[in-house]
Amino acid sequence: MFRTSLTTNLILICLLVVLAALPPFLGIYYGNMVTRLMILGIFAMSLDLLIGFTGLVSFGHAAFFGLSGYILGIVMMDTETASIYWVLPACLGVTALASLVIGWFSVRTSGIYFIMITLAFAQMLFYFFNENTALGGSDGMFIFAKPTLAIGSWNPIDFEDHHTFYYVVLVSLILSYLGLRRLLNAPFGQVIQGIRTNEDRTRALGFATRRYKLVSFIIAGTLAGFAGFLEAMHTSIISPAHLGWHESGNVMMTVILGGIGTLHGPVLGAFAFGFLHDWLQDVTEHPTLYMGIFVIAVVLFLPRGIAGLPADIARWLRRKPPGDGGSPP
């Protein structure tokens, strides 16, 4: 079963309350930043479904994130308004289809081949958009209008408003979290976690593991597409960089930094990563350099990420310092 301890739950609920209460105090800049970080949190959670729970290390996850944004861009290219009731399903549908095709090829392989193949497919999509001049080539495209929720003249939620959109994203984040949690406790979730632990045994129990991996890949891809949809709505711009392997590397880093195999970890990772980058941009001319050093340090010294930090500290405190008596010889 996927469970979190009572303490963790309490902390998460507190953080949630803080997130919900924050907007009036944030201002435009940080309001946008927190919105973006919550979106990245959804994106990172979707990758953790693959890495942390299914044991599939996908290095091309940004492909779905960017693809969905491009579909939104293409749909909105020649139109002033469009209804979200068909735009969102269109974006998610195309993303799901793409993850079905890419996943079908990829889950036939494992280990390092899987890493490289997902990377190569993502690059293929990257070049498709990068060289497609009708879609703005390497500059990408602006999304001038956002789809609306309006039915007739009644518009319950206005996406153009920053505050409203903040809460839309927050609710999306909570629903994604709860949905994934439900999924992991469902029989399907048990099977994919079995695959991560020992694929051969799971197959021996009679589960068609390849099919389960494919479905997990599609769910993760579609959720990444949902995050990409929100991101494109939020920034009103989509470019090939969203699909690039730097983006895939960054989100993987987010998952590890937060702690793989937990659902809240990736979201924490997105926030830690985002604020660190923001701070580095203020204090140094070369944020990327320090970011790189930071990543190397996390891999070498903090393999269980932020979510594993309390346990790490507890273990470190329990360890008796040398020369402190100890057991007699």
Partner: protein, 290 residues
């Protein structure tokens, strides 16, 4: 396409294929023997190109710059292996990917700090700057032929090193069974360091010798890295022979793709990979045990 332009494209593909092979062979060796995915491999290629451009400012000679440059790259490779990669042998691939990804961020930023973001070019040596006339108005630059010949010699040298020398024997043994080699009293850490540094040297050399035909620019390492991954996957991870065949296939797909379907040339490369993997998921010469 008439025969001469076909010939020109063919020569171009072979020359590109050879450069790719130099980069990909290091990548495949490092994975095959050490079990390490090294994303920072492309950075060695980029540093090679920049170092040769930088040294050219002092030496005014491509040959001298390469002679000084290769040991520098090998030292860089050695330092990275000892300081960071060596801690990752027992860890999951995920962490290797991440650490070397961080390494790319650091190395790319260092390149910007040292040499800025401008594009540079390295002149072709005087002796090799001529062209071979193919027809009345079509010529082929000698330097490109020279690249192919040099790379061919290096490939032959690598073949001899790996098949005929004691070091090569240890490397091959290490690739097929690491623990056994260790049990036989070989210092596997030393072998790893040598292989990693050799791979770095090969990638750096490819960047150096290729610098006069492609310009020297930021991000050139990332581009070649991804293509080299495709080569390695097609050929089968750990197989030098596979890397060679894969590099030639990708050279052909890329060069002819640019001529035949200019809009989607880069996709042609990945489509080739998808088709081959559909047929053989472990690559052309990979071991199916994976």
């Amino acid at each position: 396409m008439d025969f001469t332009s076909f010939l020109i494209q063919l020569l171009n593909s072979v020359q590109y294929g050879f450069l790719l092979f130099l980069v990909a062979s290091g990548l495949t060796l490092v994975f095959g023997i050490m079990g390490i995915i090294n994303l920072a491999h492309g950075a060695f290629y980029m540093f090679g190109a920049y170092i040769v451009w930088w040294l050219f400012g002092f030496t005014e000679s491509l040959t001298l710059s390469i002679l000084f440059g290769v040991p520098l790259i090998m030292l860089l490779g050695l330092a990275i292996e000892r300081l960071a990669i060596a801690h990752l042998y027992q860890r999951d691939h995920l962490y290797q990917v991440l650490l070397t990804f961080g390494m790319i961020l650091v190395l790319n930023e260092c390149q910007k700090i040292f040499w800025g973001t401008d594009f540079y070019s390295v002149p072709v040596p005087e002796v090799l700057s001529g062209s071979i006339p193919l027809t009345e108005n079509q010529v082929y630059p000698i330097y490109r032929v020279f690249i192919s010949i040099v790379c061919m010699l290096i490939a032959a040298g690598m073949y001899l090193l790996i098949q005929k020398t004691r070091l090569g024997m240890t490397i091959r043994a290490g690739a097929s069974n690491r623990e056994m080699v260790q049990a036989l009293g070989v210092n596997i850490n030393w072998v790893f360091a040598v292989v990693f540094s050799l791979g770095a040297g090969l990638a750096g050399f490819a960047g150096m010798i290729g610098a006069p035909v492609s310009s020297v620019y930021p991000g050139m390492g990332d581009q070649i890295l991804i293509i080299s991954f495709v080569v390695v996957v097609i050929g089968g991870i750990g197989s030098i022979k596979g890397a060679f065949i894969g590099a030639m296939l990708i050279g052909l797909a890329d060069t002819f793709g640019k001529v035949l379907v200019p809009d989607f040339a880069s996709m042609a490369v990945y489509a080739t990979m998808a088709v081959i993997l559909l047929w053989r998921p472990q690559g052309l010469f990979g071991q199916s045990a994976h």
